[in-house]
Amino acid sequence: MALYSEKVMDHFRHPRNVGSMEDADGIGEVGNAKCGDIMKIYLKIRDDRVEDVKFETFGCGSAIASSSMATEMIKGKPLNEVLELTNKAVTEALDGLPAHKLHCSVLAEQAIQAAVKDYYARTETALG
């Protein structure tokens, strides 16, 4: 049996929305180099929806695949729905992850929340 599902391997081999974004409206970065996983999410927001999303990940196969899947799941979605995205939903969409790999995938949920928070913080500052 392979370590990862076909879905995980597909997202790992062909990550969707990978890269950075020059004019992001919100950026979230979580994890740290010491633990071996860092995830960075860039959001372009329009009318309270995710118009575009990009990610960069330093981490294992599970971390890269869950970043990719999570960005797919939030693209085009209104922010209130985006905030509800859970690690569980990402894992399920990937047809599961080995138990000892779950912790590598929680970063996707956390990075997205951090990016939305950053967006709100920026708009609030802009509104003064």
């Binding site: 790992f12 970065e29 633990c35 071996g36 860092i38 960069e56 294992c60 196969g61 971390a63």
Partner: protein, 396 residues
């Protein structure tokens, strides 16, 4: 497929298989049985013992005990020496920070039972000096156990010199030679080794079989109670085919050692030189005093598991000491022991070659690794921050 993970296990040799088959087809009796048919198996067993004794320079085949592998041999050696020491009130054990878990976890158990375990610091080049051992030995030292060569970074320890220090102080000396046997010349008498572990599957023999060499006069404690096999020190009907296969593989490895080493070292050197050209990378272990087939590097800004998965996609089997490949939260204790920061240790790659590898394999690896490293760096926020100067580079 390019198999470059020979430190994990090796492909069984034709010689080993040819030696094993008759033990399954014809000589399949129980070596403990008294009739001639069983005694044939006993003879095969003793012949294997003699071959292995000869490869190690043991004074008699009686010093060879068969086990289920390297782990069991390590466990039995250490627990025996600890018990022998405790009987004389000696409960101090010296080892190193970069031993295999079969050693470290056994020592942990002894620590919980009241032994004092002292793990020597490993130098940045993956070495332990005889001087360190000399300074650590006390009147109540029961055992010194240091590996012959490290399984991850390949460094070869000065075993003969460490053995001499132990002999001088009359301290029992065990060495885990699982990575060395069949790859480096070993002479237990010249090197003053009292106890030595090896494992069949690391030199093209079968898995699940190993040897504990025990110098005459060192008493052994049983881990498995039962019948009188192995002179009462290890119960259970012997795995005759595996033992015979292991002996054949070790004999062959020892007789081919010089030519195999020349071939493998040349390939290893080319791999090391090629991979060193990757910017912000570092070789782990001593550049010269290393196992013939071992190449170990850390690449800054990437994580080892993704590197392995992408190499696997290109047909290359390798391994890494990253946390995500170890199944724990920390990267390899070996890389941490030589001072690699966590961040760097996560980006490690171990390639281990054998004489079955070819120069063409080396070419393909030298093509694949830099490409995969560059790709993973291109999607790594950590690498991007380093490139833009937001974070400092750790490796030059």
């Amino acid at each position: 497929m390019i198999y470059a993970d020979n430190a994990a296990t090796t492909r069984m040799s034709r010689t080993a298989m040819d030696a094993m088959l008759p033990c399954m087809r014809e000589v399949w009796g129980n070596p403990s049985s008294l009739y001639g048919f069983g005694q044939k198996a006993a003879e095969a067993l003793e012949e294997a013992r003699e071959k292995i004794a000869a490869c190690l320079g043991a004074s008699t085949p009686k010093e060879i005990y068969f086990t289920s592998g390297g782990s069991e041999a390590d466990n039995q050696a250490i627990l025996s020496a600890a018990e022998n020491g405790a009987k004389q009130g000696k409960k101090h054990i010296i080892s190193t920070a970069f031993e295999h878990h079969a050693v470290l976890h056994t020592l942990k158990k002894l620590e919980q039972e009241g032994f004092e375990i002292e793990l020597l610091d490993v130098h940045a080049d993956g070495m332990i000096s005889p001087d360190q051992v000399d300074r650590a030995i006390r009147d109540d030292t029961a055992l010194v156990t240091t590996m012959y060569a490290n399984n991850e970074i390949g460094s070869i320890l000065p075993i003969a010199a460490i053995g001499a220090v132990c002999r001088e102080h009359r301290v029992t000396f065990h060495t885990d030679a699982v990575q060395a046997a069949g790859h480096l010349p070993i002479d237990v008498q010249k090197e003053n080794i009292d106890l030595l572990s090896l494992s069949g599957h690391k030199f093209h023999g079968p898995k699940g079989v190993g040897v504990l060499y025990v110098r005459k006069g060192v008493s052994l404690r049983n881990l498995i109670e039962g019948g009188a096999q192995e002179r009462g020190k290890r119960a259970g009907t012997e795995n005759v085919p595996a033992i015979v296969g292991m002996a054949a593989a070790l004999s062959e490895a020892c007789s081919r050692m010089a030519e195999d080493t020349n071939k493998v070292v040349a390939m290893r050197q080319r791999l090391m030189d090629g991979l060193a050209k990757i910017p912000h990378s570092i070789l782990n272990g001593d550049p010269e005093k290393r196992l013939p087939g071992n190449v170990s590097f850390c690449f800054e800004g990437i994580e080892g598991e993704s590197l392995l998965l992408l190499l696997d996609d290109r047909g290359i089997c390798a391994s890494s000491g990253s946390a995500c490949t170890s199944g724990s939260l920390d990267p390899s204790h070996v890389l941490l022991s030589i001072g690699r920061p966590h961040e760097i240790a996560h980006g490690s790659l171990r390639l281990s070659l054998c004489a079955d590898n070819t120069e063409e394999d080396v070419d393909k690896i030298l093509q694949a690794v830099p490409e995969v490293v560059a790709y993973l760096r291109s999607i790594s926020p950590l690498w991007m921050d380093k490139m833009s100067g937001k974070r400092p580079f750790i490796l030059s």
